[in-house]
Assembly symmetry: C3
Homo-oligomer: 270 residues x 3
């Protein structure tokens, strides 16, 4: 369990550091999920800023605490802003997350994501189809849903992590995260997360927030996944359906403190 | 009542087919309502995907189960994506819905909508002003609100349906839907729908979802309108105001099953 | 207290005029907050319309009751639409609001906002950093959050108001509003407003709505701030966290009537 023998304490410390630091997370993300993403960041104590004009994205990424690049509704202008932000983050040593929404299913964004991967994102977060497509291991899904399980993508995740030198996180019933050496599984969560548009995209933003307050990108990514899963379980207990789940989940993101986060279902498996 | 003598069974079957099939609905819609639209689709059991880059829209429309084109915040790039998606859907025989938001009030989108109508949408869904403007029968409203009643637009709807060879649905206190031969009225609903931004736009997406699982476009459009109306009545009973109505409505969209849908206020009137 | 000796009656009358008139508010605003903004306008009884294509923005601003220009996610196309809308509103004598989100922190939008200020917005609404940057009095904040207090910006607000001939409103723990001659403070509210993305942006839209129904821009701006603050207090009493606060706040925006608004913490201080 080397690297995670102290995981309980680390998760607690990460959560507390998030409250104390309130990192500024620069999000270049799709227009469907911008509001939920910003609210999720505010709920955990981070400060969101959505800046996706090519005239501003590079400069802003350089001063942000962390950057999220999500290609969900990407087009020519925002693709250019993403390139500039990713390069700027890399140059400044700022951690950044790539969320390759629907990569594999659509040629334009698949080419863009391949280009962004070369800029070595600190974390890639996606579902199994997306990660496999990005690793060149699969033909991709039918859109934003994954058609493969998280475990199927385990090998592809390790390969991709070794290629980027960063972390790859695969969302599924059980999440799988790896830095190429260590592999961690995060359980829990709720099926209602899959019925809330943007929950996965917001998770990508929370990964970015945690990267800003932890030295170990794998720990940061794990903390974000555990935070989302625990909040989802809590929200599922009070929600009357998929509509009331979303506000309850934001309430729960706020309510999950360091002590609670330390109880998450996190297992080092390799 | 030919064509609707079995309407109770049909509505139930349509609802159940939606759950079983989980159709992929490709939405090119306005940025104000993307999140509510995606959540409404998820709530009824469909799979939303918002793809509006010209580089991707045509290819994606060809593989989607149904397509929604909503011109609410259209501009040059998205107009081009809409043209490509509509043409691609037509070529592939994929059903598609045109929602002519504020057409008649603004010249740019009115010209675009006239162009899209020539591509023969399976369903046009709008309010009375929009449908009348599209049919060339009126001068249009003052924006997104309708300034005419659904019944006033009845004649325009029939004319437009005969022109497109499809269905025209006019939202109002009582909704009116026609394929040029048969005219159906759907009652019920709640005034709170008019105080929730994007409820009408989400209805357009649900029409697309139902088109993917029914052979009769009029039945598909009626099922979507009935589903929205029943869910609104249910949500209005628990909501404390227009803000809590929206999540309650999503919960209710999920909760309305085939048996419930079969109780909708649906009348064949011509 | 000249100009505000009758403030209680004026606030009540403004609220009632809003319900009766249902002004059409044309919003050119950022994509993160469009849905909340539209829902807030609907909740208070106004009619929102988001139109930001250059082909339409000028024409639409001329027929709207009021216009909001918010530069939160501005880029080349929407900047052009904003210029056209602001010029058109000015020409038509239509009141318009400028919300200089993150101005001071980013060069591109700072230049745009400086240009828009020359077109003399009826009201500028921002936080202390933004107002100070716009007045040339500060170096700006780190993004969308203010790093200065509302009172620090008081002098800058007066200077800016004298320059535009309009009103400047500075949001903070206590809001400060001035037309260069009179200065008003509005207290109350809830910290949960700062944890809801777009609450400040929605306030800008409500200012526009109130401008459409009052002759005195300072009174209109004060009414909107008081309305938002009272609704926030009410919502904070029932919300379980930052997620359930947003729908409760929309409910409360609807519930605050003229009598309630007249109880707001509004003080003429200069």
């Amino acid at each position: 369990m080397s690297g995670f023998s102290t995981e309980v304490i680390d998760l607690r410390a990460a959560r507390e550091a998030l409250w104390e630091t309130a990192p500024l997370v620069h999000c270049l993300t799709n227009t469907v999920v911008q509001a939920l993403t910003a609210n999720a960041l505010l709920a955990v104590g981070a400060a969101p800023a959505m800046v996706d004009a090519p005239q501003e994205a590079g400069d802003f990424a350089a001063v942000a605490s962390a950057v999220l690049v999500n290609v969900g509704t990407v087009h020519e202008r925002t693709a250019e802003a993403m390139r500039l932000a990713a390069r700027s983050a890399g140059k400044a040593g700022t951690p950044w997350v790539l969320d390759p929404v629907a990569v594999g299913a659509l040629a334009y964004r698949t080419a863009l994501a391949a280009e962004l991967v070369e800029l070595r994102p600190t974390v890639v977060r996606g579902n199994a189809s997306e990660v496999m497509a990005l690793a060149g291991a699969g033909a991709g899904g039918r859109g934003v849903d994954s058609t493969a399980g998280a475990d199927d993508a385990g090998r592809a995740a390790v390969e991709l992590a070794l290629r980027t030198g960063g972390v790859v996180a695969v969302s599924g019933e059980v999440d799988l995260l790896t830095d190429g050496q260590r592999t961690v599984r995060v359980g829990g969560g709720s099926v209602l997360l899959t019925r809330t548009t943007g929950a996965g995209c917001a998770l990508g933003a929370l990964v970015a927030a945690y990267l800003a307050v932890t030295d170990d990108p794998l720990l940061g990514a794990v903390a974000a996944h555990a935070h989302v899963a625990l909040a989802a379980e809590r929200a599922a207990r009070t929600a009357a359906g998929p509509g009331t789940f979303a506000p309850a989940w934001l309430d729960a993101l706020d309510a999950v403190d360091g002590e609670t986060l330390a109880t998450a279902d996190v297992r080092l498996t390799a």
